[in-house]
């Protein structure tokens, strides 16, 4: 009996929390005519017209560019964060370097409102001609990704037995060689997890995309909002819904496939960080 109640609570919670996603998905399959008469949660005559319209490139809107920008900046932001964090994580975990300075500083970055760095970064990017470039946005996203990547990697290396390094040291290997040949292979799951996390975070980032890009490097989160800017008569809700579905799909799919790893390290990052 209590189990029926549990299922009921689950259904209500799942429905309420996923409600905007559900509505958007349903709306994306409605024709323009149906939209004006039926705002409800069902579709009378499903159509793909909205998706065809989304992938129509015009001089004002180009979804392929936004998606390509998001993929590129997420790739830069993620790989750079891991490439910087991995050797540092090794130095922190094994060399006991910066355990009380560097590590807490970077972990605390997760809690700092990043807007406080946004204005000087905007000016700096103007001087360096990095405004509205994929490289520029990618560089900033790597800062956003650093805290979690570092925590995940430090924890992973701490869990490894020290004999691994010592055996290799005896053979005369340098620390860099140990890092690349011995530690990296066994840390692969942790590296993959930080890459997935970084990708989802980067893809979903909005503030820096909004501030640092205007046309050439606009990511999908910002580009999607362009579809809401009415061109003539009001927002085309069907097209706007379709663009949101397309923009939300990559991280959602990734999250559904990898949710076990993600739930594990989300808690690691939260509890140990």
């Amino acid at each position: 009996m209590i189990n029926v109640l549990r299922w009921l609570v689950f259904a209500i919670a799942a429905f309420a929390m996923n409600f905007p996603i559900l509505v958007t998905l349903v709306t994306s399959f409605k024709s323009t005519r149906e939209l004006s008469t039926n705002p409800g949660l069902w579709v009378q005559a499903p159509t793909l017209d909205n998706y065809l319209a989304v992938f129509q490139v015009s001089d004002r809107l180009n979804i392929f560019l936004y998606l390509f920008n998001s993929i590129t900046v997420a790739f830069i932001g993620t790989t750079l964060a891991v490439m910087l964090a991995f050797p540092a994580a090794y130095a922190i975990a094994r060399g006991k370097l910066g355990e009380r300075t560097l590590l807490p500083f970077i972990v605390n970055l997760r809690a700092v409102p990043l807007i406080i760095f946004a204005i000087p970064l905007y000016m700096m990017f103007q001087w360096l001609a990095l405004l509205d470039t994929r490289l520029g946005l990618g560089l900033i996203l790597s800062i956003v990704n650093l805290p979690l990547a570092l925590v995940i990697l430090v924890n992973a290396i701490r869990d490894l037995p020290g004999e691994l390094d010592e055996a290799a040291l005896m053979d005369g290997a340098s620390r860099l060689q140990i890092l690349l040949r011995v530690i990296a292979p066994v840390c692969r799951p942790a590296i993959v997890t930080s890459l997935i996390f970084g990708f989802i975070t980067s893809w979903n980032e909005f503030l820096f995309g909004l501030m640092l890009t205007t046309s050439k490097a606009v990511p999908i989160t910002v580009g999607a909002s362009f579809f809401f800017a009415a061109s003539g008569g009001g927002v085309q809700w069907g097209v706007a819904s379709a663009v949101m579905v397309v923009g939300a799909l990559p991280p959602v799919l990734l999250g559904l496939i990898m949710y076990r790893q993600i739930s594990g390290s989300m808690t690691a990052g939260a509890v140990k960080g």
Binding site: N108, A118, A270
Partner: protein, 293 residues
């Protein structure tokens, strides 16, 4: 020992790229922030700021909108953190017998975490739209009345609900993990002693989960306090600046009003307060850890 020292320098070398990167992209901006906050600067004199003292800080201090935004951020962070953690705690414990057997249920509950907050905000523009949105539609159909969800009186609570529904899964996930990590022997032993289910929860399980609850409250408060994306796309700074968070206040001072000095001074204040609070928390956490071991 010689090898020891060689070791340390090798480690230092490995950490160097990260440190240099941070100095360039956080250290340098922090210095720019400090200099500009005490200068008279506009978009025309960006490269030659005239140091004038604390006038920017005075301007921020006397700006009602700044205090309104601070109050919004504090209230928004506190209310959403409490709601998310209360809901998440209930769901985690009540649903755990279901999720234990079928982990895909958790995947469904975690789904909102994967969607960009900016997109979720845009989605609610559709959900709450007076003609195209299903919520007003069903409210009219069933009750013959609807609210103006993003109007001056209800915008704040609408935003609270939007934020809470998206991020409750985060608290739920944390609490579910902590709940599952409670050793079964502890629970069994108390049950043997005849503890009632309710007492077991109150005196054994919740105290064991307390550290996780504190961490979750903290993380959610911080994220609520610095909120930008979903609020910005839904209401912007709202009617009369009523839904401007501190992040939105700084953004608009810079990009909409071109008041660089004010924006930068507000950044510096936020910077100082954040670091003071975080430093205090770290001290507190460090002492707690020391007491435990």
């Amino acid at each position: 020992m010689k090898t020891q020292r060689a070791n340390t320098s090798e480690f230092k070398l490995l950490a160097t790229p990260l440190v240099l990167f941070l100095l360039l992209f956080l250290g340098f901006p922090a210095i720019v922030n400090l200099i500009y906050s005490i200068s008279d600067v506009s978009f025309e004199t960006l490269r030659q700021p005239q140091i004038t003292g604390l006038s920017n800080f005075v301007a921020v201090w006397n700006d009602n909108a700044f205090w309104q935004a601070s109050w919004f951020s504090l209230r928004f962070g506190a209310i959403t953190a409490l709601l998310e953690c209360a809901l998440g705690l209930f769901l985690a414990i009540f649903l755990s017998p279901l999720i234990e057997k079928r982990s895909w249920l958790m995947a469904i509950l975690m789904l909102p975490l994967m969607v960009a907050p900016a997109l979720v905000g845009l989605m609610y523009r559709l959900v709450l739209h007076e003609f195209a949105g299903p919520v007003p539609y069903y409210l009219w159909a069933w009750f013959g009345a609807s609210l103006s969800f993003l109007g001056p009186t209800s915008a704040f609570w609408t935003l609270i609900v939007v934020e809470t529904l998206q991020w409750t899964p985060f608290a739920l996930l944390l609490f579910y993990m902590a709940y599952r990590a409670i050793p079964t022997e502890v629970v069994e032993a108390s049950a043997m002693d005849g503890a009632r289910r309710w007492n077991l929860l109150w005196y054994i399980e919740l105290p064991l989960m307390a550290p996780t609850i504190i961490v979750a409250l903290l993380i959610r408060f911080i994220d609520g306090f610095r909120v930008f994306d979903n609020v910005y796309v839904l209401t912007g700074s709202g009617p009369g600046g009523s839904t401007a968070s501190l992040s939105i206040y700084i953004y608009e001072a810079f990009f909409k009003q071109g008041a660089i000095g004010k924006a930068v001074a507000a950044s510096v204040i936020l910077f100082a307060v954040s670091f003071a609070v975080l430093y205090g928390l770290n001290l507190f956490a460090g002492r707690r850890k020391g007491a435990l071991t």
